[in-house]
């Protein structure tokens, strides 16, 4: 059942190998009575085969919408999404069906994303049945057993129902469902946010081990910066529907250039008392509404280094050093802050 995985060798080298996933000019607007809500606005990202791309931002920045558009749980308003060079936006029903076997999703809340009336066995076999992967029950059930082993669920739980299990075990079911069809690309939308810290660590370890074994490509969406630094190869920072910075995970943390990225990183409560209480940048105000966003830079209203040009001219995402992309007129290193 393992899909062909041509290229573990391309790992960590996103610029030379053709990307597994690429978005071009991707937009998703929702219509609201007040006007269009710009959830995702002109996003261009690539994800290399075998890479974990971390996607961070605050509530309402469009990160979950982007994750859903990328695997076509939502249709984009404009733009393209390529998987292995094929644009999936215009896929018909049949093509979409085979695409689903290659791209899967793990949802945030293991309490509401599982049908409470299905047993663990039924939940994990559901994708196998829908896609008629195996001709008979025997092979399906063997595959379910194997998947339960893979994600660390004891076989005795096969007949249990979600309400009998804790959050960590439920999230393991969510992971098993996503793995069932042997995907190459998995979107993980806040997969550990609802979990306690010890269980969160157990699931992060599981995701890491699975990737080691099967060379999955992850888009890992989270608001938790210490988690994203831990698990990602590269990190994208979004603000109000736009990508504002994209860099290698260590580069982003050591050398953040966007004033928002800097504020975001400095706002992380570090579990240490010796360094916890100094040098925090406190942003004023709240994230503005993505309905009818203003012209110019969307961070303008809260930016500590704003200038007049920022109000009228929206900065484009540009490569400021190898593999470090930034959308800001006044980056931190040029004395912008």
């Amino acid at each position: 059942m393992a899909p062909q995985r041509s290229a573990g060798k391309h790992m960590g080298n996103p610029t030379t190998a053709p990307p597994l996933v690429e978005t071009r000019g991707l937009k998703k607007y929702f219509s609201t009575p007040q006007g269009p809500l710009h959830a995702v606005d002109n996003v261009n990202i690539t994800i290399a085969r075998g890479e974990t791309l971390g996607l961070v931002g605050e509530s309402g920045c469009g990160k979950s919408t982007l994750g859903r558009v990328v695997i076509r749980l939502l249709n984009p308003t404009a733009g393209s999404v390529f998987l292995d060079g094929h644009d999936i936006v215009n896929y018909g029903k049949e093509e979409l069906r085979s695409f689903r076997r290659r791209a899967q999703m793990v949802f945030q809340d293991p309490y509401s994303s599982l049908n409470p009336r299905l047993s663990v066995e039924q939940l994990i076999s559901e994708p196998l049945r829908i896609h008629k992967v195996f001709p008979n029950e025997r092979e399906t059930s063997a595959r379910v057993k194997k998947l339960m082993d893979t994600v660390g669920l004891a076989q005795r739980l096969a007949t249990s129902f979600p309400h009998e299990l804790d959050g960590g075990r439920r999230q393991r079911i969510g992971v098993a469902r996503a793995l069932a069809l042997g995907p190459e690309f998995i979107v993980l939308d806040e997969p550990v946010s609802a979990l306690d810290v010890c269980v969160q660590a157990q699931i992060l370890n599981l995701l890491h081990d699975l990737k080691d074994e099967f060379q999955y490509t992850y888009l890992f969406i989270t608001h938790d910066l210490s988690v994203v630094r831990h698990i990602s190869n590269r990190i994208v920072v979004m603000y109000l529907g736009k990508v504002i910075e994209l860099a290698d995970h260590l580069e982003l943390f050591e050398n953040p250039q966007h004033p928002y990225t800097r504020a975001l990183l400095s706002a992380i409560p570090v579990p240490r008392v010796d360094i916890a209480r100094k040098g925090r940048i406190i942003l004023e105000g709240d994230v503005p509404s993505p309905v009818n966003p203003p012209a110019g830079c969307r961070f303008y209203g809260r930016c500590p280094s704003r200038q007049d040009i920022c109000a009228v001219n929206a900065p484009e995402l540009e490569e400021i050093s190898p593999d470090h992309f930034l959308a800001c007129h006044f980056p931190v290193s040029t004395g912008g802050n």
Binding site: V197, A201, S226, H230, I268
Partner: protein
């Protein structure tokens, strides 16, 4: 009794139980905790550890049935809370002890203006005219960083962070002696969380209110607290001043909690977490409640709860490794690599 004069709050051997269909849930089981005037204590633990139940017990808000305080004592300013009449308790709640709840979206009344909600609290506990109460309410808005002109607005007109500021204003309106903040920033985004933590830090200096900050987040606790208590399965396993606890966690559970958080200063691929899950509160294990998950557990651990030992002045640990065997020999600080920088 000297202790009780110094401490604003003194909890001894508290036991809180809930009767449920699946059995007797021992939510808090033999908890000892005290708080000095002006002290900010972080009460840290995972879901189900009994943090919120402890807070509700202090406030005398345990719903009965199904819950009841099965034993122990809670002394607030030297007076036995369990012996108070309903009338006296009502006077204390909101007046002398105030609470900030986790979710600002649901803890405000949607059909009252925010100034009215603050004024309501003041009128209940202080002898003032309606006009004075309203004036004081607007002052409180200013104090928590909101424009007083926004007083007549309703909760839905505010963002999550601003609503939490209103909740804080209500809690502090009567200058309580003790403030209990239950996960006050958990529902907020990280930049908004930073604003609220900054505000709480300023208010702490302004009012010098003794505070219990309940949180699952060791990062948040590090920002605000003077001392930290680690709670697990209804008990305190470790308590110390913040510096000592963060630099030198002694209990294996505390060490496991720290190891579960991805360290921003290191690059590791796998986290060194604790295996297993917290025990079922209807069937707590005999002896040390953490023993079934503990890498250092020995036969002695299942015989009787380990008592609190003062590992070094002010740093208490409930672990049998501390008893007699030259405790702390494992050098957990080195394991965590806290020494660098």
């Amino acid at each position: 009794m000297d202790q009780q004069r110094e401490h604003i709050l003194d909890i001894r051997d508290l036991r809180v139980q809930y009767h449920t269909d699946t059995g007797l849930v021992k939510a808090v089981e033999g908890l000892n905790l005290s708080l000095a005037r002006g002290e900010t204590l972080g009460l840290v633990g995972e879901t189900g550890a009994g943090k919120t139940t402890t807070a509700l017990a202090i406030m005398q808000l345990i719903a009965s049935p199904p819950g009841r305080i099965a034993g122990g004592s809670i002394f607030f300013e030297g007076e036995d809370m369990l012996a108070k009449s309903e009338e006296e308790k009502r006077h204390i709640r909101g007046g002398k002890i105030a609470m900030i709840f986790q979710d600002p979206m649901t803890s405000l009344n949607p059909v009252l203006s925010v100034q009215e909600q603050i004024a309501e609290m003041i009128r209940l506990h202080q002898k003032v005219t309606d006009k004075e109460a309203l004036e004081k309410a607007r002052d409180m808005l200013g104090l928590v960083g909101l424009r007083p002109e926004r007083g007549p607005d309703y909760p839905h007109q505010f963002s999550g962070g601003m609503k939490q500021r209103v909740v804080i204003a209500i809690a502090l309106a009567c200058s309580p002696r003790l403030l209990i903040a239950d996960e006050p920033t958990t529902a907020l985004d990280v930049t908004i969380q930073a604003q609220i933590l900054e505000l709480m830090q300023q208010l702490k200096q302004h009012f010098n209110t003794a505070t219990i900050l309940i949180s699952h987040d060791l990062g948040v606790v590090a920002q605000l607290c003077d001392s930290v208590a680690i709670m697990y399965a209804g008990r305190i396993l470790e308590k110390a001043d913040a510096k000592s606890l963060y630099a030198n966690p002694q209990h294996p559970y505390t060490q496991g909690l720290f190891n579960s958080i991805p360290d921003m200063t290191k690059n590791v691929t796998r986290l060194n977490t604790i295996a297993g899950l917290p025990p079922d509160p209807t069937e707590l294990p005999p002896g040390c409640c953490f023993a079934p998950r503990c890498a250092h557990a020995s036969g002695a651990c299942s015989e009787g709860s380990p008592r609190m030992v003062e590992y070094k002045p002010g740093h208490f640990v409930a672990c049998s490794r501390m008893n007699g065997n030259g405790g702390g020999a494992l050098g957990p600080a080195e394991e965590r690599g806290q020494a660098h920088g």
